[in-house]
Symmetry: C5
Subunit: 258 residues, 5 copies
């Protein structure tokens, strides 16, 4: 399910920052200086990569697509699918699900049902599926951590640029005409450090963390669903049980207290 919160949010945030600069009489192009841009983006990405493995860095790049173009998959939609499978399994036996599996969009659900059809021991099935949930949880966490780390490095790396610039200025006080311009240039590094962190890295990190939470909630719901199908539980009870696992954000808003 596409969810435009991140692409819209980050895109419009940059527009607002530029607009505010223009409204104050500033010239946004004056902020596009190569040295601070190189310093802030280059160093931040490099030290973030240095804090993990090459595989982590690659996965973080791949997950960018998820953050901007992807979105949460519905939990609520899983419930009727599972209930349908449970009804058929009750009526026609577990093996009859072999046809249904082929039509399932969800790979994780398909894997679980296939394990059940193969006659794998229910405890074994749960263990295998939960190990996958746990591995997915760790992978999502790691990608989110990449951008959270970058968001923590960027402002201080901006400060490195500003202090280097100020040291340069202070060593060359002989040309007072240039002072204002040089100090301004020094501060642009801080500006890019703080902006890249708050308008880019940290929101991406938060988004990936949140999508990971929703994804694992969905996988946990499927684990319960497969276990219920395998145990031959009453489809009505399964619907009730899985329904109580669906996140509130997919139900009617339930937060208003009197």
């Amino acid at each position: 399910m596409k969810d435009a919160a991140t692409s819209l949010g980050i895109g419009l945030a940059f527009v607002v920052v530029i607009l505010a600069n223009v409204l104050e009489g500033g010239n946004p192009t004056a902020l596009l200086l190569l040295p601070p841009l190189l310093l802030v983006f280059g160093t931040t990405v490099l030290v973030t990569i240095a804090g993990g493995t090459m595989a982590d860095a690659k996965q973080a790049v791949v997950s960018l697509k998820t953050a901007f173009l992807g979105g949460p998959q519905s939990c609520a939609e899983v419930v009727p699918t599972v209930v349908g499978l449970a009804e058929r399994a009750r009526r026609e036996g577990l093996l009859s699900l072999e046809d249904s599996v082929r039509e399932l969009d969800d790979e994780f659900l398909a894997k679980g049902v296939t394990l059940a059809i193969d006659g794998t021991d229910p405890d074994e099935v749960r263990e295998i599926l939960e190990a996958e949930v746990s591995a997915a949880k760790k992978a999502h966490k790691q990608s989110a951590k990449f951008y959270a780390d970058a968001g923590a490095y960027a402002p201080t790396i901006g400060i490195i640029g500003t202090v280097m610039g100020l040291v340069h200025v202070l060593e060359n006080l002989s040309d007072p005409e240039q002072l204002g311009h040089l100090i301004a240039a020094a501060f642009v590094a801080t500006l890019w450090g703080v902006t890249s962190a708050n308008v880019l890295f940290l929101p991406i990190g938060n988004r990936l963390k949140r999508l990971g939470e929703l994804e694992t909630t969905r996988m946990e719901l499927i684990v319960e669903g497969v276990a219920a199908i395998q145990s031959g539980a009453n489809p009505r009870v399964i619907a009730q049980k899985l329904g109580s696992l669906v996140p509130a954000s997919e139900q009617a808003p339930a937060l208003d207290a009197a």
Copy 2:
């Protein structure tokens, strides 16, 4: 139950901030500049939205009503209701509760008792209700996190505005008459960043977190109550057990040690 802590607290806090400004001889209207207001509120809300999903953002808006106009529902009031149901169930049987359910204000309690009447297995009932508690916990956490995140972004976004303003000033040192005014305008962004975080976003986040805690305490009390009714426990023992789960803030103050 309406609880005015947030509406009063935040409202009066803004009054105090304005009053302090006036007492120092300042002019509060001089702080109402469009660029910093647009930058701080616009960017903060946009990057906070970017860190989640559209559904999260919608739920956060809905929960504003809860924060300002809602309040904690009483835990203590649940105890006599549950004890009354337990007494009737003991006297007239579980099925006799069907009439009582219709009169219950509390949806969650009604759902639990209905499951019990329907003859659902006690372990199953507990599992379904606990899944709802857990989903409610996550939903409350997510809404509180929205405002906590906004409170973390706002001051640094204010700094973005101030640094952009200072860069603009430093590039235009030729007009010393305007210097004071321009630097003042640059600092207004920091002012709004820090103020919006501390007087608006963070208190709302804390409030939603606290209401969520109290709500889940109440739901957990109901889970225990339904289990006790279903097990046919002695109403006197139920009263004692549920009573010990009521938060101290609803009992006589119990914090004074000698």
Copy 3:
């Protein structure tokens, strides 16, 4: 047990701050300006209240007495009392404790022993007492959190005052005579923000958290004691077991390693 750490510590800390100011040639009364005092204390308390419920705020006020005039109740003293009760219960039966209960100072111990005398099931007794421990834990945490929150808000609210003051100064650079005085006044807000947080709010929050820890340790010791009495355990073993639960700070110092 009265423990003067907080009243003495905070009282003397204010004396030291004033003394250091006087020794540097400053005039402490110059710091008693109404606008920053109103801003820092007023806004901090108001936004802290806004982050919870009215009941939380009331309980936080009540707990001030505990922080300044109260102190930890002894854990070590509970051991002989419980051992005495266990001996009597072994000799004369559980019902014989009815007289002893009336002489107990400790309400929580009295409640536990009464439940045991009433013939409540041991698991039930433990569950009820542990629910009370958990409720007490949450209540202590909430009061400590109030002051920890206030300690987190205060410095940034001081910064609001200073930035407002500086904006005011920068808008009025025409009167250079007054500049020093006005900037000084602006910084007084930061001074009160940092001082109130570090010399008042944070120490009170830490104190309440610590007293809560000691109180719940003591309650947990009583839970074990009541369970041991009810199970008719050997008083010598009870003494040994409870003794190992007494915090090290009430025993001979055991931290020196060779």
Copy 4:
């Protein structure tokens, strides 16, 4: 497996910082002042050592080699090895593995299989291996903590240098010619504090933490593998179970949601 993320990342990051300085017209050699370098690196390392034991410091030095020249060992490669052992054990009996053990590269796997061959009780084997996993986890954490601590100390120790420098400047305002140069020198301490933390200490700490996570994931996979071999489980099921424990970063990227 060698993984160049850290050596490349940190090396290139220093290049980028120097490049940015040169592009802005600065002279990087002007930053190589002995006093701030001595202060920042000397004090940071000394106080970090002071916060642990000599053995911790030695282990932190040893782990530098791992951070820069080492890398994560593959989890995925363990699976076929374990499955091979399981097949042989099923066909020829557990004792037949004695030959295979000698050819195993992995010491931990060899130890586990040896324990199994020796006829140690399965629960005992698991307990011994899990104790090793837990000890390895703690050791990795401790080394990572050394660099994380250094990264937390360094910027503030840089500030010590800058404030000492500024105090020195302010005491000697009589020579205005030297002012710029002296203030610049004072700021170099902050520069080295922030740079050493963000470009050196923190990335090393993050890297060691991550390698530790991957190493313990691998060890936990081996614990499961040895238990499965010992229980004589079906090799196909073992392959499926261990496969689900392999981290996503070693599988095809699985993060893209629709």
Copy 5:
């Protein structure tokens, strides 16, 4: 076992700070001003005391000796002692250990073995010993927290001194000759705040936390050892099991991955 990491580390760190100051042409004695020293050390210690109880403060003072003159007790040395006891118990019976107990240096091991000899139930022995481990853990944590708290207060209290000094300066701008000197004096408070935190309080806190971890690891190893002796386990298996609990820092360095 004496471990000089802290005494050497902190001692040399102060030497390096002074050396760096001298190398920059500063005069370290100019930093020894009474008001900031009184303010920073006095207020920090007082508000830290205020955040706990008198008993906590006393224990924190006692633990200073441990931090500077003590060190970690060896875990590896415990293993052969326990194995020796286990062998004797197997050969000559548990009661034969009565002689061996008198020769044990370790009080905690002696207590455990005595409980075993007395015929206390194994579960009871484990419970008593684990309660002691838990109490020791809490005590170590509390002492470490004292210095961690002091390290968090000190820099902000230094800022209180600096802001008070600056307010004083700004109120007295009439004497420009004195300006530099007065501002320098104001910054000395920040200098002492940051230095005392990073070179004294925080390293002591970290050291105590680490010694506490190592001490509790050792105690947990003894708990396992006593349980193994009491169960009459095979000494060879005991050696293997306890060996896997010894921290990696006492074994050959095991962190280098290929």
